[in-house]
């Protein structure tokens, strides 16, 4: 494979993508099926071109072709193969190509799934998805070409940034990109629904699984990023409200709101405009997030350097917003709600408030992130807000959201009576009160942790009540054993009970957040050899520095004995590494994980003459729940997404002649 193949494929892909847009729209105009089909075929061809380009770049990386600037900048001849593959998305140019790989692959799958379904929507879906692809292709062809050759070929690469040489970092960007790109599918279908005027819930049913797919990867991408920060960056925490983190968090919030509000549209035919707004907002935020991280508008501690991409992304975002909002306004008369809200005490209302709060949090995060820009416009001075802003705003909102998570699943539709409320909520509320008091008695804490844990137990009460009720009903009616009843219950109502498992995961993440923000301890000490200090029930003894040298990296470790009482339970060795190429020191934290907490040590600095060392010690209680919550979230979402057996699929589709491919939702 010669590297010349890459640019060639990208140019061809660009031409084909534009061709696909034109033929799809013209095909509708002329009512010509063959023209529309030609557009769809072009979309497959674009996918082929992008795959060829990506394969060419991977090949160049794997044979260390340092004639190419990108290869020389992000890999080296000694970089392990595992990270050489990761270098594909390690830098700006490669990451845009990688983005295209995901986008066009998803497009190809969507086209395949809908060969015989949604025929009226599909030309527009193709046009929208290819429109997005055209933008990214324009970027990689004209603005940031990944195959640019060096004037003088390098003899050796500069290697991947050592901070990226970590397993979380190999999976974090692909997850996040997949989540971002996946949101294009519901957006494309929404636009198609607006364009055709077929505004029933077909577009929602057809994209429900794609939305969940995108949400799944967005959630995991955010979590992987947090875990990477925790294990690599060495400041003791996992979330700093950095603009880059916020960029990924905002579409997650609006996407979560969308997942909930579509249920109201499906069940009650309400909130049609709101759902459109949410899907437009979510997609726009994925583009905005990409813009934020690539433009240098906001100084972030981990943003890409300024690259001239900013104005292009901003223009694209403007086009997206103008076109989609114009379509929405044009179709407003058709989007009138067929039902009204019956009562404030109803499930509909709980869902609505859940939506408002999720969007409110997204707005607050947006405001805080953009505050330097906004204040510069208004007052001519850049003013930044730090993590305390985000925590102050989002902690109370998060708790209200937690409360609604306990209310939503069991409050009655339409109108809840007091008798119903008493019956349904007696158990969850009791669990909440008892749990809150028990936590206060056991672990102390403050007002925040008392409220948080009461609500956490309240939600656990709700979830357990739902599973219990369903299980008992099956046991009594069908005589099934408890585990079998539980299993069948979940399998038969995957959407509902899988959703509860996801709620359980969110509760676990709340436990981790409460634990680490309320009960966290930290200490910074500068100690001589043999000196001891204490943190959270542990006594730590600094035994001096150790050195180790390899051809690639030299290590300097602080040997720290960990004592619980008089007994030594562990030896931790937080280290400084000195990568020899590129010459860069990195900090490697040492963590002792137990069921209840993490002891987290960082070697801050040291004095070579006296061997005095500055050690940062953190005790992060309950952080293990972040990992368990992530795993549970993945498990729950998979339950929801898992396709039903053919026979059990919704009869509406089975009856329709178009449904030969099976259904999406």
């Amino acid at each position: 494979m010669t590297p010349e193949l890459g640019p060639l494929a990208l140019h061809l892909g660009l031409v084909l993508a534009i061709y696909a847009i034109v033929t799809s729209l013209v095909g509708v105009w002329w009512r010509r099926r063959d023209v529309i089909a030609s557009g769809e075929h072009a979309a497959f061809a674009v996918w082929g071109c992008v795959i060829v380009a990506a394969a060419t770049l991977l090949h160049a990386l794997s044979i260390h072709d340092f004639r190419i600037e990108y290869v020389a900048a992000y890999s080296s001849s000694t970089l392990p193969l595992y990270y050489t593959v990761a270098a594909l998305w390690g830098g700006q140019k490669g990451s845009l190509l990688f983005w295209l790989v995901i986008l066009t692959s998803i497009t190809a799958i969507v086209e395949l799934q809908n060969r015989h379904r949604n025929r009226e929507l599909m030309p527009y879906v193709t046009a929208v998805l290819m429109g997005i692809a055209t933008f990214f292709l324009l970027m990689v062809v004209f603005i940031t070409p990944p195959f640019e050759a060096l004037a003088v070929p390098a003899t050796e690469g500069r290697d991947l940034n050592p901070l990226l040489q970590n397993y979380w970092m190999t999976i974090h960007p692909p997850s996040l990109y997949t989540g971002f790109v996946g949101m294009s599918v519901p957006f494309a279908f929404a636009m198609a629904a607006l364009a055709t005027g077929k505004l029933g819930d077909t577009w929602i049913r057809s994209t429900r699984r794609w939305t969940l797919f995108a949400w799944f990867f967005l959630s995991l991408g955010n979590l992987f990023g947090a875990l990477w920060a925790y294990e690599v960056l060495g400041w003791g925490g996992y979330w700093a409200w950095d603009p880059v983190e916020n960029a990924a968090f905002m579409p997650w919030l609006t996407g979560t709101a969308f997942l909930h509000s579509v249920m109201i549209q499906e069940k009650k035919n309400m909130l049609k405009v709101w759902n459109m707004v949410l899907v437009i907002l979510t997609f726009s935020l994925t583009i905005f997030g990409t813009f934020l991280t690539r433009s240098g508008v906001i100084s972030s501690v981990h943003s890409f350097t300024q690259s001239g991409l900013g104005p292009f992304f901003l223009s694209f975002l403007a086009i997206v917003l103008v076109v989609s909002l114009s379509l929405l306004i044009w179709r407003l008369p058709l989007l009138r709600s067929e039902n009204e809200l019956d009562s404030l005490l109803s499930r509909e209302s709980a869902f609505l408030f859940n939506n408002l709060i999720l969007v409110g949090i997204a707005f607050a995060v947006f405001w805080g992130t953009m505050f330097p820009v906004i204040s510069e416009w208004v007052r001519g001075v850049k003013i930044t807000v730090g993590p305390p802003f985000f925590n102050r705003v989002n902690a109370p909102l998060g708790l209200v959201l937690l409360f609604l998570m306990g209310v939503g699943p069991i409050i009655a539709w339409r109108r809840a009576t007091w008798a119903h409320l008493r019956r349904s909520f007696a158990w969850p509320v009791s669990v909440g009160i008892v749990g809150g008091i028990a936590c206060l008695a056991l672990g102390g804490g403050n007002y925040w942790s008392l409220v948080a844990f009461s609500l956490i137990f309240f939600v656990l009460g709700t979830i357990s009540a739902e599973f219990w009720r369903g299980m008992r009903a099956r046991q009594i009616m069908l005589g099934e054993s408890a585990p079998l009843a539980l299993l069948r219950l979940t399998v038969k109502n995957k959407r509902r009970y899988g959703g509860y498992v996801v709620h359980l995961a969110i509760v676990m993440i709340f436990i981790a957040i409460t634990g680490t923000s309320v009960f966290r301890q930290e200490k910074q000490v500068t100690v001589n050899q043999g000196e001891r200090f204490e943190i959270g029930g542990y006594t730590l003894q600094y035994n001096g520095l150790e050195e180790r040298d390899t051809p690639h990296i030299s290590y300097l470790m602080a040997n720290v004995g960990v004592f619980s009482g008089d007994r030594q339970v562990d030896t931790l060795k937080p280290e400084k590494r000195f990568y020899k190429k590129p010459e860069q020191p990195t900090t490697e934290v040492a963590i002792r994980s137990t069921l209840g907490s993490d002891l987290y040590l960082v070697l801050g600095s040291y004095d070579e003459d006296t061997h005095m060392a500055t050690i940062l010690a953190y005790l992060n209680p309950l952080i293990g729940f972040l990992y368990w919550g992530g795993a549970t979230l993945a498990f729950g979402t998979l339950i929801v997404i898992w396709p039903a057996p053919l026979a059990a699929r919704e009869p509406a589709y089975a009856a329709a002649p178009e449904a030969r491919e099976g259904t999406q939702s």
């Binding site: 900048a73 992000y74 390690g90 830098g91 500069r158 991947l160 940034n161 901070l163 990226l164 960007p173 990477w228 920060a229 960056l233 400041w235 700093a240 991280t293 100084s299 501690v301 981990h302 943003s303 890409f304 350097t305 009204e340 809200l341 019956d342 009562s343 404030l344 609505l352 408030f353 408002l356 409110g360 607050a364 805080g368 505050f371 330097p372 001075v381 850049k382 003013i383 930044t384 807000v385 730090g386 305390p388 802003f389 985000f390 102050r392 705003v393 109370p396 909102l397 910074q524 500068t526 100690v527 590129p582 860069q584 900090t587 960082v602 801050g604 600095s605 004095d607 005095m612 500055t614």
Partner: protein, 147 residues
């Protein structure tokens, strides 16, 4: 009362609450952000204000001293040299006790957070931004918050 009006009132209350939280949040945790070049002409108005200052650590200006209190660092930061511009003259002295990110060194671009008191920036956090040499994505977020 009409139910949608009721809901509207609820939504307004919620929006007001969010607005209040945001207002209060900005009051408590905002700080000015300047580059050294922007800061030089206004340094006299900024005494005691919370600041984030972006600049480049001057070569040869770094002094370190480790004691039981930690490692105290003294250095000065100046303007960045852009590709098409001459850096603005001047140096802001910084004093910081604590841990700095791995990428911190003389000649590197940093963001220093602290208060400007009597002509010295009393820093409580030092962050490094990626030098352009690495275009890599997550640079250094080691927030050496010394509080």
């Amino acid at each position: 009362m009409n139910r949608s009006v009721k809901f509207g009132i609820g939504a307004c209350l919620l929006a007001a609450a969010i607005g209040y939280l945001m207002f209060a949040g900005v009051q408590t945790s905002s700080s000015y952000y300047f580059t050294v070049a922007e800061f030089m002409p206004r340094q006299h108005e900024m005494g005691g204000e919370p600041l984030r200052l972006a600049g480049r650590v001057h070569e040869g200006s770094l002094r370190k001293q480790t004691s039981a209190k930690g490692t105290e660092m003294n250095f000065t930061i100046g303007d960045f040299a852009g590709p098409n511009r001459v850096p603005v003259e001047g140096a802001i002295p910084v004093v910081y006790t604590g841990v700095v990110p791995d990428m911190f060194a003389e000649g590197r671009d940093v963001i220093v957070e602290g208060r400007y008191v009597d002509g010295v920036l009393q820093a409580h956090a030092v962050m490094t931004s990626c030098p352009s040499k690495y275009e890599a994505k997550p640079g250094e977020a080691a927030q050496a918050a010394a509080n």
